[in-house]
């Protein structure tokens, strides 16, 4: 399958794409994103309890991509010149990778508070794919 995500494989994860659904581990209580696989904290494979997070959290690492964007985001980079991508630690504890939106990404720093908003992610095969991006709170 490679890096290409088919429409069905995108749709399979809509609870994660739109609402950042987390999996809470019955053994240690930690939250894992996405809500499948083994617990990121203790590697337990016991069934997760699904949890819908508040969608708020803190930037723990970030970058502004100015060159060499993946093909799916090449148009965006051409239009905007650059875009920000962060690892966000949600208030529930799980870490989520996401694009920054509604801001100048170069002003966003580690420790800044952000909230999840649904935005257009990219278009492929004539279908616009939507998902979560992160917007700074103030």
């Amino acid at each position: 399958m490679g890096a290409y995500l088919s429409v069905p494989s995108w749709w399979r994860n809509l609870d994660g794409r739109y609402r950042l659904e987390l999996g809470q581990c019955p053994d240690c209580g930690a939250h894992t994103f996405p809500a499948e696989g083994a617990c990121v904290e203790c590697n337990s494979t016991a069934d997760f309890e699904t949890v819908e997070p508040e969608g708020t959290g803190e930037v723990v690492a970030g970058t502004t991509i100015t060159g060499g964007a993946p093909p799916e985001f090449a148009d965006l980079q051409t239009q905007e010149g650059s875009f920000g991508v962060a690892v966000v630690e949600l208030d529930e504890g799980a870490r989520v990778p996401g694009m920054l939106t509604d801001c100048d990404p170069t002003t966003v720093e580690r420790g800044d508070r952000v909230e999840a908003v649904v935005r257009r992610i990219y278009e492929q095969e004539g279908i616009v794919r939507y998902g979560v991006k992160f917007r700074p709170m103030d």
Binding site: L5, F33, T66, E72, P97, M99
Partner: protein, 389 residues
């Protein structure tokens, strides 16, 4: 346990070679490795072959291992293609070592190849994304450089690492690579030029990133009994460690290091009966400048968070106490994904035998190779020592 010895090793030039095929590249590396064996090497005696490749650009052929071993006359030998992203041939090296230790082989080869430069930039970016976590990390818009940039951002915030610390990696490795006739980018680069290069993924700029290259590498390993017939200058594989970790950075417990490096190094050190302090020199996986700094810490060369001052101290320069990436590293020598881990072993082989030409450092007895797949999903670490067990 039987010991495995490195009795031959060679690589092609790394670079852009539109007139070469993956088979011709592999053949060049293989024949070079055969020529590097002191004694009379009979290729029909190869018991096992492990060949690393990612298969960039739709070259992920079935049977890509036998396709290159048949080309060099190893028809009949057991051959396995190994895929562990950029750690493919480091992994192949460990598999060959294990086969010899287990008694399943007396002679084994480990190698790898990659052809990366004959594609459009779009295709290359598409295929490099294959080594990351594709469903979520890649779909957040990040590139391979972007993931390492996030690690650099966190490392700078947590440990005070600076722009200058990052660029010192580029300046050092280019100075080394300028002395390596096989290097893809074999030119010097001043600290100032490295610091002022155009941005790619903040805080990383163009000189923080290695190139994509074509190339191949091959190492020949032998049991002690077989090695006694083949060499008078034995290089023993004293330790072979390997570990895996979460493929996506966001699922790992730390943003400022690579846990699989620490795990693989611990195994390799334990097997060799040594500590980090005992390593004389190393070839580490500097796909991005921050990766070399994190390797110093994860391999135990310095304390966590001290990589910046450590490189500034000059310890890892050729005239320092522990030279790192004398070959030029991925940064200057180049990074043909499947060939990189084997290429690191080539440098250690040459340095330990005193055959490294202009970049030879004297008095080296124990070298380490550190090969990372993706942003840390797989890591292989080897310790090599001069002499018989």
């Amino acid at each position: 346990m039987r010991d495995a010895y490195l009795v031959g090793a060679a690589q092609t030039d790394f670079g852009a070679f539109p007139r070469e095929s993956y088979r011709s590249l592999f053949s060049t590396a293989f024949e070079g490795a055969v020529d590097s064996v002191d004694g009379e090497f009979d290729r029909t005696e190869v018991d096992e072959a492990y060949v690393g490749t990612l298969g960039v650009g739709g070259r992920q052929l079935g049977l890509s291992g036998p396709a290159v071993t048949e080309f060099v006359g190893l028809d009949g030998a057991s051959c396995t293609r190994v895929e562990n992203a950029c750690a493919a041939s480091g992994t192949a090296l460990r598999q060959a070592t294990l086969a010899i230790r287990a008694g399943a082989a007396d002679i084994a080869i480990a190698g790898g190849f990659e052809v990366m430069t004959d594609m459009s930039g779009d295709q290359t970016r598409y295929w490099l994304g294959v080594s990351g976590e594709t469903e979520w990390e890649r779909m957040s818009g990040t590139t391979f450089a972007g993931v390492y940039a996030q690690m650099a951002d966190a490392h700078m915030a947590e440990h005070g690492t600076t722009r200058e610390h990052l660029s010192r990696v580029a300046a050092k490795n280019h100075a080394n690579g300028a002395k390596n006739p096989h290097a893809h980018l074999g030119f010097e680069c001043s600290l100032e030029d490295a610091m002022n290069a155009p941005g790619v993924a903040d805080p990383l700029n163009l000189y923080d990133c290695c190139p994509t290259s074509d190339g191949a590498s091959v190492a020949i390993l032998a049991s002690e009994e077989a090695a006694e017939e083949l060499t008078d200058t034995p290089i023993r594989v004293a330790g072979a460690g390997q570990a895996s970790s979460r493929v996506g950075l966001f699922q790992r417990p730390t943003l400022t290091g690579i846990p699989a490096t620490t795990d693989a190094a611990e195994q390799a050190y334990d097997e060799a009966g040594v500590e980090a302090d005992d390593i004389d020199f190393a070839e580490v996986h500097d796909c991005f400048s921050i990766a070399e700094l994190m390797a110093y810490e994860d391999l135990g060369f310095c304390e966590k968070g001290e990589a910046g001052p450590y490189i500034t101290s000059g310890t890892t320069e050729p005239d320092g106490e522990r030279p790192v990436n004398l070959s030029g590293g991925l940064k200057s020598k180049g990074h043909p994904i499947g060939a990189t881990g084997g290429g690191q072993a080539v440098e250690v082989f040459k340095q330990l035998r005193g055959e490294a030409g202009d970049r030879q450092v004297s008095g080296l007895g124990r070298g380490l190779t550190h090969n990372v797949g993706g942003s840390g999903g797989a890591v292989a670490v080897h310790v090599f020592e001069e002499g018989w067990a």
